[in-house]
Amino acid sequence: MTGRRVAVVGAGMTRFVRRAQETGKELAFQASKAALDAAELRLADVDAVCLTSAPDAFDGVHRKGDYLADGAGAWGKPFIRTYVGGGSGVFTAIQGWYTVASGQADVVLCVAEEKMSSCQPHPQGAFLTIFDNIIERPLGPNLLWIFALEMQRYMDRYGLDKRDIASVAVKNKRNAAGHPAALLGQADITVEDVLASEVLAWPVQRLDVSPISDGAVALVLASEDAARRLTDRPVWVQGVGWNLDSTYWTNRDLVYPEYVENAARMAYAMAGVTEPRKQIHVAEPYDPFDYKELHHLEGLLLFDKGKAPEAAAAGVTARDGDLPCCPSGGLLGVGNPIAAAGLMKIAELFWQLRGEAGERQVPGTPERGVAQAWGDLMQVGTVVVMGTEDARTDAAGATADQPATMLGPTPLSDAAFRAAAGAVETDLDVRYAWDPGEVMGAFLDALREGRILATICTACGRTLVPPRAFCERCFRPTDGWTEVAATGTVETFSICHVTWDMRPLEVPELPAVIRLEGSSDGGFLHKLGDVEPSAIRIGMPVEAVWRPIAERTGSILDIAHFRPRETA
């Protein structure tokens, strides 16, 4: 065991709603108070506070950490905000674990808040700057693209049936029907409903996606001595792990989340879990999209690669299945106030392992569970293993307390939101200018000449597109330039029907990751053209269509698009 033992002794959450009347501070307070009440603690008993919240650009408050601090109970206390995108919710429990395990605090309040409704016209605007400013943003990517590209590649590799993937959305929305905090619980939803929902960016459809939400979740962590004093049913944090993949997402194997496996192996090793499929009894994998739950279950080593979808369709992951997954209802059913949704997964394990999950309680007496979240530019995995360790003394289901006290929040209709007294509307009236830097500048200059350049690392033997000044694996300067072909194959693609703010497109966009010939790790994001969308296939040979020389500007747009290439 690493450091001091740490237990969860209380959890609380607000309802997840589309628009809350409460400010972010007030949401954080409601969840924090509920968690303290559940642990029968006062704020004065808390030694330190760990907070998380996803991008500042959701709430529109730069420095969201200290803005939220009073609502998180941090007045006059050691306080830290950590942030790893969508992985933040689970990570803040890891931060809490650290703070207690290190001996610096005996009782820590972990708080996760998100208020996405402030961001207009659509919170996806907060994600526009996650793409590379020089070679991706000129293409106009939106967040749905990368999910669609990853889902398509996952489906293609294993020949998956979209019905099996849709069964995850059905399961989670049905599970959420029993959750008092849920935004999108629906007991009678079917796979047909999911498959008939609006196509956003093929293969992603409306009901494959979790909803925008406001909400907060809080957790009380305690040292062993404090935990034994506070409760006779502590739930121990047995293992923590986290891991980050390359930021060059077009170079990654989008089929399998290795970083989740790495994080899981770290957490399992600490927890002494050697056979996760036998030793994990309940799982809360991260499910912002239905395929992501399956992706993550494979990364968590709970199913063989490519096998989670058929298991889900067969009911293995149902609440009464062999391995209940997202019994809470997950992000797809309860809602997705991003950081809060991640911490909700830890709270759900706490309630499930204590037998306090009410209608959502999984059968039997689960003794160990795993929660996982994922985020940044689709590259971080955060994993926590929790368990009761000592067999539960109470009979199964003996207590069926609902999650703490549901204090709020008050949902606002769109009309009430628009009419609220004292409301202030502000444009984020700033502009950025990005210099491409030396290496990317040379790459862009070559595009103007109709050539695609790569850098090479002789230490690992890779030919790198996009080019970079240093090899991030060997951590040494790259060794020079080479030219790669302007031909390649479609690694994955999407057919996108909406803009970032969800306005329909008359002509769909065709984003694709192009694997360039001569590049060792893939290639880059671009668009397809001169092709019927229905004719596009993964693995299809393509070639760059260059703009006329006079129109080239030294931009990724000097390639107009990639089109199908005739091969002998």
Partner: protein
């Protein structure tokens, strides 16, 4: 970035703005245990996490805690005339409010809130503080 933000005032500030608009009063909330009155009103005490009710009227007079004269705007442009801002602790409140100082008043001087005739329920309903 092509995004804008719409900030709604939340539960505590809604009570504050509605009282300012409808009754021309400054509404705070008091934590008796901590002996602190927060202005504007909050729904919880940040010191002890007690739930609070927005029901304490403060002001309309108070004391200047600090002030500054701004000669430069946020884009670096010169402000002509310069604008004076102050922190005022309204009578009955333990926290201070940031607003314009209309005229001159030094630290410790008493000032009075100057309200607009047509109030909408926004911080602009208060024009600023003038020497009492």
């Amino acid at each position: 970035m092509p995004v804008s933000f719409r900030y709604t005032p939340g539960v505590g500030n809604t009570a504050f703005f509605e009282a300012l608009r409808d009754r021309g009063v400054f509404l705070g909330s008091r934590c008796a245990d901590c002996a602190v009155t927060y202005l504007p009103a909050r729904i919880f005490c940040e010191r002890c996490f007690a739930s609070l009710t927005p029901d304490i009227e403060c002001g309309p007079e108070g004391v200047v805690v600090s002030w500054t004269v701004a000669h430069v705007g946020i884009d670096g442009e010169r402000l002509d005339p310069a604008v004076t801002y102050c922190l005022v602790q309204l009578d009955g409140a333990d926290t201070v409010l940031l607003h314009r100082l209309l005229g001159q008043a030094d630290i410790g001087a008493r000032v009075r809130a100057m309200l607009s005739e047509d109030r909408t329920g926004a911080i602009g309903d208060l024009q600023g503080f003038a020497p009492a």
